[in-house]
């Protein structure tokens, strides 16, 4: 089981770094989907004993993040007819380097965090890393879709963190959260559609009509 866990964690790191370095949007969507599946599996693999509650939750997460979200996003990608992210504010190579440092510092940082009872500092570190990746995507990318992906990655990180540090969050809440995220992605999809319709592009940084 330990080896499966490390595989999952490795995949998590890999997906994050890939996202930071990749410009093709469709590919990124699939990577995020993969990440969702990986994250859904982590509690199943890592938590002993396995309860029905966790099983159900993980399953929902996998279905949503691995299936529904990518489908939604790919659809809006088709509508908007964009293929690639243009060169981001922070270039791909730089992003990757930042990601690398973020990974290292997350690991260092996580070991110092005062989560006394928890031993899964590695998972915490990777959760932090995932969140940072998400934020990086949110801050540095031009396309609306990239930002949605960033948001999803951020959510993934939080989810990952939650599995470790707050495993006793009631199920109703967990489902509520998932529902919210789903609606959020759905809403963002609609928003992207509308942006594309009104502006003929989805470059977020060109939406600067409102200021001051």
């Amino acid at each position: 089981m330990l080896t499966l866990m490390s595989l999952l964690l490795f995949l998590l790191v890999l997906t994050n770094l890939t996202l930071l370095g990749s410009s093709r949007l469709a590919f990124c969507i699939r990577i995020v989907a993969l990440q969702g599946v990986v994250l859904g599996l982590i509690p199943l693999v890592g938590l002993q004993p396995l309860s029905l509650r966790h099983g159900l939750l993980s399953l929902t997460a996998i279905v949503l993040k691995g299936g529904v979200f990518p489908w939604l996003l790919l659809r809006s990608l088709r509508v908007a007819r964009v293929k690639r992210e243009v060169e981001p504010f922070i270039g791909f190579n730089v992003s990757l380097s930042i990601g690398f440092f973020a990974l290292i510092s997350s690991v260092v940082f996580a070991s110092k965090l005062p989560f006394g009872g928890h031993k899964d500092t590695l998972i915490i570190a990777l959760a932090l890393f995932t969140m940072i990746t998400g934020l990086l995507l949110l801050i540095s990318r031009h396309k609306a879709l990239s930002m949605v992906l960033g948001y999803l990655v951020l959510e993934n990180g939080i989810y990952c963190l939650g599995t470790v540090v707050a495993d006793h969050i009631p199920m109703v809440v967990e489902f509520g959260v998932l529902l919210d995220v789903w609606v959020a992605v759905f809403g963002m999809g609609i928003a992207m559609y509308q942006i594309n319709r009104e502006f003929d592009h989805t470059d977020v940084d060109r939406l600067t009509e409102l200021r001051g």
């Binding site: 005062p114 009631p170 919210d180 809403g187 928003a191 509308q194 502006f199 977020v204 409102l210 001051g212």
Partner: protein, 488 residues
């Protein structure tokens, strides 16, 4: 009695469902108004018994109503009632001319009731996770209210609103998780993350809890429009239709602040002092006041102006939260005053924007002559907003200053007074040419009864609370303030 809480959640849902079967625009508005009024009725029925049976729980402790949430519920229902009354006035022309399609009207009303539902959920949730879910849902529901009219700017605003608030609220969720994580592993009963239990539990990991509060503060603060996380707010407020802006500013921000209050209360309890939260409240309050002052000076769009006023006033409320029991009292009173006032001002701004065909303040001239009712509303609400007596905001700001003096927070007080002074000067400079002077040729519009009722009602309440603060309300607020700032 406790069945009431469930009713509060049920009524909007029923309303949303019923709206699917309505085929006439005006009836839709009537229906949502009816739903809101039904809620109000529930509150009125309950209100006689409320003081004695508060706090109360139901649904296995998941729904919970204490003085704090009851107060916010009251404010919320006031805002929604006013908004529902005003909506037909605002949309009538567009509904008639077909600029607002039936589908859009239905969507509007469903989203309207939806946001009522999500906010009710936020207020009634005992579990802080559920509270978060409600808050996040609020964002999602209301985002689409911004772009009921799919203009480019509205869509831009909606996008920014959606993405910024989603990210912000995501942080708040980390905060919620960290609260859970900071609990001792053995703490029985606190497993459900019920606020009622968290606020009395012991053995927290204090550092984690503090970190949790920082996340909640920044997260919910984004939604509450505290600077520098307020950036979405002027965009969304200015692009949304009048009633929606009013609801945003009048209550949604307060709902987010309400979440912060809840988290703050937990931290205060765990730390045994409110020094930690106070300092943060004061810092964020002051930053919001100063930042909003800067933007108010240079503003040219009336709704953006009002939006920045919201930033300012949320800052003031936050500042009040940091000033001990009297400050909390003032903050809660200010919540009501600001909501009343801001609803009215957004109604006026929205309607004047329609009449003058622009929200540019440079184009709105002599409203008192051109559109007397809305001119009066604008003048009354803006004067109230900048703290002119005898409107009630004067009273809450006065209490705030008193709290500051009692706490000897002199620096904070000076910054607050300077900031609000700048706002006063700038806002008045904007207001005078808008309301007075020669009005251009305006389309002659008859004022409907509901419009008059809204304006007179809101202004009357503002004046009433400025001159008279009934003892029951004072007692109620004292109890509510004790919940969040009971430590001195």
């Amino acid at each position: 009695m406790s069945g009431l809480l469930i009713l509060f959640l049920l009524i909007p849902l029923v309303g949303i469902g019923a709206l699917f079967f309505v085929r006439r625009g005006s009836v839709m508005f009537m229906l949502s108004l009816g739903a809101v009024l039904l809620d109000v009725l529930c509150l009125l029925v309950g209100i006689s018994g409320l003081p004695t049976c508060l706090p109360m729980q139901t649904a296995g402790g998941w729904l919970y109503l204490d003085h704090l949430s009851a107060w916010h519920l009251l404010v919320m229902l006031l805002v929604f009632t006013a908004g529902s009354l005003f909506a037909p006035v605002y949309f009538r022309d567009d509904l008639g001319s077909g600029r607002l399609s039936l589908t859009a009207a239905r969507r509007y009303n469903q989203l309207w009731l939806g946001s009522l539902w999500t906010m009710t959920l936020t207020l009634l949730a005992n579990n802080i996770g559920l509270m978060w879910v409600g808050m996040e849902a609020t964002t999602l529901v209301t985002a689409f209210l911004v772009s009921i009219y799919p203009k480019p700017a509205a869509i831009e605003a909606m996008w920014k609103y959606l993405i910024i608030c989603s990210v912000g609220i995501a942080f708040a969720f980390i905060g919620t998780m960290l609260v859970a994580a900071s609990l001792p592993a053995t703490g029985e009963g606190s497993q459900q993350l019920f606020w009622t239990q968290l606020s009395v539990a012991g053995g927290y990991n204090l550092l984690l809890l503090k970190a949790a509060f920082l996340f909640s503060l920044v997260g919910f603060g984004t939604k509450a429009g505290l600077a520098p996380m307020h950036t979405w707010l002027p965009d969304a407020h200015s692009q949304a239709p009048g009633p929606v802006s009013a609801m945003f500013s009048g209550f949604m921000l307060n709902a987010a602040l309400y979440c912060i209050m809840r988290h703050g209360a937990i931290v205060n309890h765990a730390l045994g002092s409110d020094q930690f939260t106070s300092r943060l409240y004061i810092i964020f309050g002051l930053v919001s006041i100063v930042v909003s002052a800067a933007f108010i000076i240079y503003q040219h769009d009336i709704k953006r102006l009002l939006a920045y006023h919201s930033v300012e006033h949320l800052g003031i409320i936050t500042l009040g939260l940091g000033l001990g029991p009297v400050g909390c009292f003032a903050a809660l009173l200010h919540t009501l005053n600001h909501s009343l006032c801001k609803s009215l001002s957004f109604f006026a701004a929205g309607r004047l924007g329609q009449l003058y065909g622009s929200h540019e303040m440079g184009r709105i001239r002599g409203a008192l002559h051109g559109a007397p009712l809305w001119g009066i509303a604008l003048v009354g609400s803006l004067l109230a907003l900048i703290g002119v007596a005898p409107f009630s905001i004067f009273i809450s700001e006065y209490l705030l200053v008193k709290a500051g003096i009692d706490r000897q927070a002199i620096v904070a007080l000076v910054i607050f007074l300077l900031g609000s002074g700048v706002v006063f000067v700038a806002a008045l400079e904007h207001l005078i040419p808008m309301a007075w002077g020669t009005a251009g040729d305006l389309p002659e519009k008859r004022c409907s009864l509901s419009a008059v009722a809204v304006v007179v009602g809101l202004l009357g309440l503002l004046l009433f609370f400025g001159l008279y603060l009934p003892v029951p309300i004072q007692n109620f607020l004292t109890r509510a303030a004790a919940l969040i700032g009971g430590l001195s």
